[in-house]
């Protein structure tokens, strides 16, 4: 029978070991400059950084983009996860159109910030290139 003292002891040991494990894992495998919320975000970050290695993309924005992409275009995300190049290109393009990159004149020296998911049905007339 587990008494109260033993239970608290076991809980403390579990928490201590977990925290130690997490600290050790971080030491052995440093996280990227940004922290990603889950494996889906890591996947998307990997695709973006693989295709746009010359751009500085802030991590929080990638988190937000991944969340929006999952909600708005889950099919694309599924195909991208399967390694489909066309889907990976599409989501990369969508990220750039959703960011301030083109608003800043496609200046590759500036950090790229996610603004809002590029979706003509959510934000009509948001084409950054069209001269109307």
């Amino acid at each position: 029978m587990l008494n109260r003292r033993k239970f608290l002891g076991a809980l403390g040991a579990f928490l201590g070991l977990s925290a130690g494990g997490w600290w050790l894992a971080r030491r052995l495998k440093p996280s990227p400059p940004e922290e990603y919320a889950n494996p889906v975000v890591e996947l998307i970050a990997g695709i973006l950084k693989g295709r746009l290695p010359f751009l500085k993309m802030e991590g929080q924005g990638i988190n937000a983009f991944a969340s929006d992409l999952q909600r708005r275009n889950p099919g694309v995300l599924r195909r991208a996860a399967q390694g489909r190049a066309d889907a990976q290109d599409w989501l990369t393009e969508r990220y750039l159109l959703s960011s301030d990159f083109f608003r800043n004149g496609a200046d590759e020296s500036r950090s790229v910030n996610y603004l809002a998911y590029y979706d003509p049905y959510q934000r009509p007339c948001g084409n950054p290139f069209a001269q109307l």
């Binding site: 746009l52 290109d89 990369t92 393009e93 496609a106 049905y121 084409n127 069209a130 001269q131 109307l132």
Partner: protein, 474 residues
């Protein structure tokens, strides 16, 4: 108990609505017109909310025996106008004389010159935006709206080919109309977020509110009553109940799948009825440019190139209309994001009798498509595109040309199953779209096209509806 009408029209898409518009101008104030629409009235707000153009799934309404070939249409009030991209080129004069000029296909039973006035009227109704400086086809008056803005690659091609490259004529509004906002290049024209493209719902719905018109929705025409060489009315199904309407004139304006099916279900037969099912064949190409930025245009497709259209080659291979796409399609390379051009080639097809629509043997109430493929004539042109592009694009600083090996699944055009012609033995309807044998039966739409031309068919089929109504009421 049957209801009595003067005229019964089947369908509410382009063909039926343009006919109705012209018919109402000429008919008497006491005329009674019944319009039957198989679908519902899914308004634009509904379409935006559900991200689809119809509450009825089109593929469930017919049997497709070739899953590799798609046919698409919108069942519902306004028909194909709900989902079209609003591309409105005219056919060229030579398209009407393919047989006599090039020895292939068929001639149309009317000339470009005869249809020109009706092209103008259709363009006025749609408030078409088109080129101001010149036009690939002769015009008696300017386009109702100014052209959309070119992209930079368009400008270079226009300078190199002043007589062969033009702003695309389109019913995506350049300027706001009373009922539509201006196009802002969202690039999702199948369902415009700002309702800028012409649709029957936004520009022609008022014709259906005319007191002479009774519109019945969810009413599927089952057959036309034919006896003594005349059409006497239409039997239709509404909410599971068969109903009958009597009329002195029956006008069939569904589409090129359902028009021949309805005629066949009504006991009519003809060696050409349901035959010659075809549409244009679409091929795309991606061009990487060196130093030229793209996508500045003010609408989704900005340029039309006629370099592969007219010429002696049409005796051997199909004409081709080139579209320059302005929807952002980025090149994921450092410093070259916008240095890319997407082209689409619309290749005409020669109709072949082996491709057809017939009542499904298993489910006769539904049409069945038997499609074996496009013509060799079209394929020879498709095969030539990579070679021809090298020369055509010489004015542009091209880094790389990649022509897609895939053919588009469909162009959303359905053509050729109720062919028009002067010879009753070789055609279903005459030059005014009146059935050769049943003289109070009119068959509208792109099913009457004897040949496809590479031009998108909608403006021509709308003009033909105006032409037909004009001659019927003369």
């Amino acid at each position: 108990m049957a209801d009595n009408y003067d005229t019964i029209i089947v369908g509410t898409g382009f063909a039926a609505s343009f006919f109705l518009a012209a018919y109402l101008q000429k008919c008497s104030s006491g005329e009674r017109i019944l319009v039957l629409e198989r679908g519902r009235r899914d308004v634009h707000a509904w379409q935006l909310r559900h991200q689809r153009s119809s509450s009825v799934e089109p593929s469930a309404t017919f049997v497709n025996k070739n899953p590799r070939k798609s046919w698409f249409y919108t069942p519902g009030f306004g028909g194909g106008s709900n989902c079209w991209w609003a591309v409105t080129p005219r056919m060229l004069p030579g398209d009407f004389r393919l047989k006599s000029a090039h020895g292939v296909g068929r001639d149309w039973p009317l000339s470009y010159e005869e249809l020109e006035e009706f092209y103008c009227r259709a363009e006025d109704i749609m408030a078409v935006s088109g080129p101001e400086d010149a036009s690939p086809s002769p015009r008696s008056r300017p386009y109702p709206q100014p052209p959309h803005r070119f992209s930079e690659p368009d400008k270079i091609l226009k300078a190199a080919y002043p007589e062969l490259y033009f702003n695309q004529p389109t019913a995506r509004a350049r300027r706001p109309t009373a009922r539509r906002s201006a196009c802002c290049a969202s690039g999702v024209c199948h369902l415009c977020p700002v309702d800028a493209k012409f649709t029957i719902q936004n520009e022609m719905a008022h014709f259906y509110q005319d007191p002479r018109v009774t519109l019945e929705l969810e009413a599927t025409a089952r057959h036309i009553d034919i006896g003594g060489g005349r059409a006497g009315g239409v039997v239709y199904e509404q909410q599971g109940v068969l109903k009958k309407a009597l009329g002195n004139l029956v006008v069939v304006g569904a589409n090129a799948l359902f028009n021949p099916h309805l005629l066949m279900q009504s006991g009519l037969s003809h060696p050409q009825l349901g035959r010659n099912l075809h549409e244009q064949v679409g091929v795309t190409a991606t061009i990487d440019l060196d130093g030229v930025e793209n996508f500045q245009g003010s609408t989704s497709i900005t340029g039309h190139g006629y370099m592969l259209y007219e010429g002696a080659h049409r005796s051997q291979r199909a004409a081709c209309l080139m579209e320059s796409w302005n929807v952002p399609s980025l090149r994921l390379e450092r410093g070259k994001f916008r240095q890319r051009l997407q082209l689409k080639f619309m290749v005409e097809d020669l109709p072949e009798t082996r491709n057809q629509v017939r009542p499904s043997p298993e489910q006769p109430s539904r049409p069945e498509t038997l499609y074996y493929g496009h013509s060799e004539y079209a394929q020879r042109s498709i095969d030539k595109i990579p070679e021809m592009l090298d020369g055509i694009l010489r004015p542009l600083p091209v880094e790389k040309i990649a022509v897609s090996p895939k053919i588009s699944a469909t162009e959303n055009h359905i053509l050729g199953t109720t062919t028009m012609g002067d010879d009753p033995a070789r055609s279903v309807v005459d030059r005014h779209l009146v059935h050769h044998q049943i003289r109070n039966l009119v068959v509208l739409g792109s099913g009457v096209f004897p040949t496809s031309s590479p031009a998108n068919p909608t403006l021509t089929l709308a003009a033909l509806s105006l032409w037909s109504a004009h001659h019927l009421m003369a």
